[in-house]
């Protein structure tokens, strides 16, 4: 029987987040007929702009863009597809507990919070960490090699990684190997005195992770973030219209390249025929066939729900099941009737990235609660006020505050339904300490716990990296051995989401690499 032409594609991409869209666009540009199916009525996934209170728009999950490589943005001609910047090179400002806010960046000005020694040490520290990060960039942007094969490409990739590290020179290489397995607390304690500076630098190592600054491996997560930034062009940016505008541009790029995008089309099952992926079954009951299926859903969802354990070997299922993917970051959205009154902050600085992480001890204490299934009594936050750079997101004169709040464990001991209100109040109280009078200006508030993130964005565990970024879930073993090169044990099924190397953050590399892998293999 002939299938109607309209329902047969070379490739189906599951999920219209940024990785799915990048993947669909790259495949279409490679000459494949591509269908992308998205469960929600609009594309964007966790890079989505939506209304959270009447007239108030916010980037509902990720709220900054700094990891997407410039060559990817150029390759897909996102500017010509409508991507504009509301702000570029945004400053990072650490809000001190008592003192004035500290702009963290080069050159660092000595002042009441920062000694001249600290300022000088910061210069050395940043230069060295950037050299290390730069050495890791090639590792980050490519499909990881496989170990134990005789494939020339795998061997070359491993040699190249070794060479990158060796090329740092004797002293740097020793230092990288010394600090590579350390925790960020010790690293920063060794070099700085200023509590607020250390807090701000340490925050980047634990943002979005299940780690406190004293957890082993946090230097690695910091280097990883810095390498991703180095690959992405380093500067913090805010797209006009929020992160959703990025995905709208990606969708236009994909469509322009010939891909078809269907929204409100949730997938209930990946179809299997003769032990290979054969298409998808939508929740509506519609079957769509394709030679290749790429899933940007997280690995647990892809393998355990959409595909089903019965198509996989037990050992592989065991590894997927053990994948650590429980989110600890919540998202707080406040609709404000005026600009938030952060103490000592110039109105221009309000458009930057604001951190509440006044010391490493503060972060570690915040994490202590999470270890025992409680939310932090004094949470750490990454705050943006997107309306400062992009007034269109709120009614005239009004503002939006968007904050990533840590730590708010997915599996809260008492359950989120009972605790949601209390935690929202606690977050606002925390903010009030840095912005006295903020509470009075709140028109509406929305808190997305990891549980909400799981439900709204269909991410298992509500973990925005689709799996903890840690040594054992990283690079050649990400997300699990047997699926680390986008290929999966099932022929014709590929992973293209943040669960793959190099991970989450609005980066797009997993989507592009998966597309390249498919184009290479089926060529």
């Amino acid at each position: 029987m002939m299938q109607p032409a309209a329902t047969r594609y070379d490739c189906i991409v599951i999920g219209g987040g940024h990785n799915g869209l990048v993947c669909a666009a790259s495949l279409a540009r490679g000459g494949r007929s591509v269908l992308l199916v998205e469960a929600r009525p609009q594309v964007g996934g966790a890079a989505l702009t939506r209304e959270f209170a009447p007239g108030f728009q916010v980037s509902a999950c990720a709220h900054l863009l700094h990891l997407m490589p410039a060559d990817l943005v150029n390759e897909l001609q996102l500017s010509s597809h409508g991507l504009k910047w509301a702000a570029q090179s945004m400053p990072t400002i650490a809000l001190g507990a008592q003192g004035a806010p500290l702009a963290v960046g080069l050159p660092l000005a000595a002042g009441p919070e920062v000694t001249a020694e600290d300022a000088a040490a910061y210069g050395r520290y940043t230069a060295q960490m950037r050299r290390f990060a730069q050495a890791l960039v090639p590792l980050l942007s490519k499909v990881p090699p496989r170990l134990g094969t005789r494939d020339w490409g795998d061997i070359m990739a491993l040699l190249r990684l070794g060479w990158q590290i060796r090329k740092l020179g004797r002293d740097d290489m020793r230092e990288l190997l010394r600090i590579g397995g350390m925790n960020v607390y010790d690293l920063l304690e060794d070099q700085f005195r200023s509590a607020v500076l250390k807090g701000a630098l340490g925050f980047d190592a634990v943002l979005g992770t299940n780690f406190g600054p004293r957890s082993p491996g946090t230097v690695l997560t910091l280097l990883y973030r810095m390498a991703a930034e180095a690959a992405g062009g380093a500067a913090l940016t805010q797209p006009a219209g929020g992160l959703g505008a990025l995905c709208d541009a990606l969708a236009k790029a994909a469509t322009a390249a010939g891909a078809t995008i269907r929204t409100s089309a949730p997938v209930s099952q990946i179809l299997v025929e003769s032990d290979r992926a054969a298409g998808v079954l939508l929740e509506s009951g519609e079957r769509i066939t394709a030679r290749t299926v790429l899933s940007s859903a997280d690995p647990k969802n892809t393998f355990l729900n959409l595909l089903g354990a019965r198509h996989l070997d037990t050992g592989f299922v065991r590894r997927v099941n053990h994948l650590r993917a429980r989110g600890l970051a919540a998202k707080l959205h406040l609709a404000l009737d005026r600009a938030p009154p952060f103490s000592g902050l110039q109105s221009a600085a309000l458009g930057g990235r604001l951190l509440i992480a006044p010391s490493l001890e503060y972060l570690e204490r915040a994490y202590n609660h999470a270890k025992y299934g409680e939310y932090s009594a004094a949470p750490a936050m990454e705050i943006t006020v997107p309306t400062v750079n992009d007034a269109a997101l709120a009614p005239p004169g009004k503002h939006v505050l968007s904050a990533i709040v840590q730590y708010a464990p997915y599996a809260l001991k008492n359950g989120w339904p009972q605790e949601r209100e209390r935690f929202t109040e606690l977050c606002i109280d925390t903010l009030e300490r840095y912005a006295p009078g903020l509470r009075a200006s709140i028109v509406a508030a929305e808190l997305l716990t990891p549980l909400d993130i799981e439900r709204e964005f269909r991410i298992s565990g509500g973990h925005w990296h689709h799996g903890e970024l840690a040594f054992d879930q990283f690079f050649m073993v990400r997300p699990v051995p047997g699926a680390a090169q986008h290929r999966t044990p099932l022929r014709g099924l590929y992973l293209c989401g943040a669960g793959c190397h190099p991970g989450g953050g609005v980066m797009g590399i997993p989507g592009r690499n998966a597309a390249r892998q498919v184009l290479k293999e089926a060529a």
């Binding site: 032990d275 070997d313 050992g315 299922v317 065991r318 099941n321």
Partner: protein
């Protein structure tokens, strides 16, 4: 308190006693006990020869309570088991038993055992190794419940040509109609007794499954009624001779479970163990299927075969060579015995390609200890079909009146 209960706390008595222990202890003449899966069991009661000949000429009781038993039940039980083992259990009817093997992702053997279909959605899996972790991880995504029931079921293997006649004498009406691998439900002096026509001897025989409380009574009934049929309790050594004649493989002897190997290259696939007939590649996915398909395509590097060794010296642990001069090792013997029934010197051996083909000749390097003087024999051996001994009576229904 029943004698089957440990007398001291478990940490003071690391080996458990089966419900038959009291009787085994009384019958043991040479005090030869060994540990099996956490239980103390008999290796030899009197002499290996006496016990072996009882298997082939009369009837025997062998305590198989230590065999690990799992209850697998639920709406997905058959789907679950079919994903676990390499055989198609969709074809297994209620009250039937199937011999199965199962593998890890790489297609390497984890264990072999039997699956009993006890009801529509209820199965029992009998295994050599404890492996609840693997079984539970295999259950992810299946609506199925798995419990270990080893201690809740006492079991005896009753093997030998007169076994059917003896059970008939005891009033197990219709036992003669039980086909190989069939399960029947009987009562013996008011005690419930489940009987399966299964075993590890390659002979006519049954396995009897009962509540631990009934164990001693049933043992006594069998022993009393079986006197005229030559009944004898046997230990593991006699059974081992019989199972080599039947060509059956033993974990830790002919293969090591892939869960337990440490060195690379020591895992064995069912293809290598000559168990390709147990694999159904068409039934749908099962763990190890993709690896086994690839291996089938490559062709196995080695295979477990039967050897007929020239001479009468069992080739225990012998290395195998392609030439009599011992220049190139091509395998090793895993199990060996003199087969009193076949009057042949037989062995199971893992042999490299291409020497595992039926009809090939290899050389076994046999070491003999003759009053502490070691001698070496390079004996010719022929690769032959298994099993070595397969009497018609093992299959005939109803069995003959021996």
């Amino acid at each position: 308190m029943s004698a089957s209960q440990p007398l001291a706390p478990h940490f003071q008595q690391p080996l458990l006693r089966t419900p038959f222990h009291e009787r085994a202890r009384a019958l043991s003449q040479v005090d030869s006990f060994i540990a099996w899966a956490g239980y103390t069991t008999v290796d030899v009661f009197t002499t290996v020869e006496q016990e072996y000949f009882a298997i082939r000429n009369a009837t025997t009781l062998y305590d198989i309570t230590p065999m690990v038993k799992y209850r697998v039940a639920g709406p997905d039980a058959v789907a679950y088991l079919n994903r676990l083992v390499t055989r198609d259990l969709g074809k297994l009817k209620p009250d039937r038993v199937a011999y199965c093997v199962w593998c890890d992702d790489e297609g390497h053997l984890l264990d072999d055992g039997t699956v009993f279909r006890l009801g529509e959605d209820e199965y029992r899996l009998c295994t050599a190794e404890r492996q609840i972790d693997w079984l539970l991880d295999s259950a992810i995504g299946f609506d199925v419940e798995i419990n270990e029931v080893t201690e809740q079921i006492a079991a005896l293997a009753m093997q030998g040509p007169t076994s059917c006649a003896l059970l008939k004498t005891l009033g197990l009406t219709g036992i003669e109609r039980l086909k190989p691998f069939e399960i029947g439900y009987f009562s013996l002096r008011g005690r419930q007794l489940t009987v399966s026509r299964t075993g590890f001897t390659g002979d006519l025989g049954y396995e009897l499954w009962m509540a631990p409380e009934a164990a001693l009574d049933i043992w006594d009934e069998l022993m009393a009624a079986g006197r005229s049929r030559g009944i004898r309790a046997i230990g593991s050594q006699a059974l081992n001779m019989a199972r080599i004649e039947a060509g059956f493989i033993m974990p830790h002897v002919d293969f090591v479970s892939a869960e337990q190997t440490i060195r690379t290259g020591r895992d064995r696939s069912p293809l290598e163990l000559g168990l390709a007939w147990l694999i159904d590649f068409e039934k749908g996915h099962f763990t190890g299927r993709r690896a086994l398909l690839a291996e089938r395509q490559r062709g196995p590097r080695r295979q477990l075969v039967g050897l007929d060794v020239v001479g009468n010296k069992p080739a225990h642990d012998a290395l195998l060579y392609n030439e009599a001069n011992g220049s190139r090792q091509i395998g090793a013997v895993t199990s060996a015995t003199w087969s009193p029934t076949c009057k042949r010197n037989i062995a199971l051996a893992m042999v490299d390609a291409p020497y595992f083909q039926i009809g090939m000749t290899v050389w076994a390097d046999i070491y003999l200890n003759r009053e502490l003087v070691w001698e070496r024999r390079m004996s010719k051996a022929h690769v032959v079909e298994r099993p070595f001994f397969a009497p018609e009576r093992r299959r005939v229904t109803p069995p003959g009146e021996f």
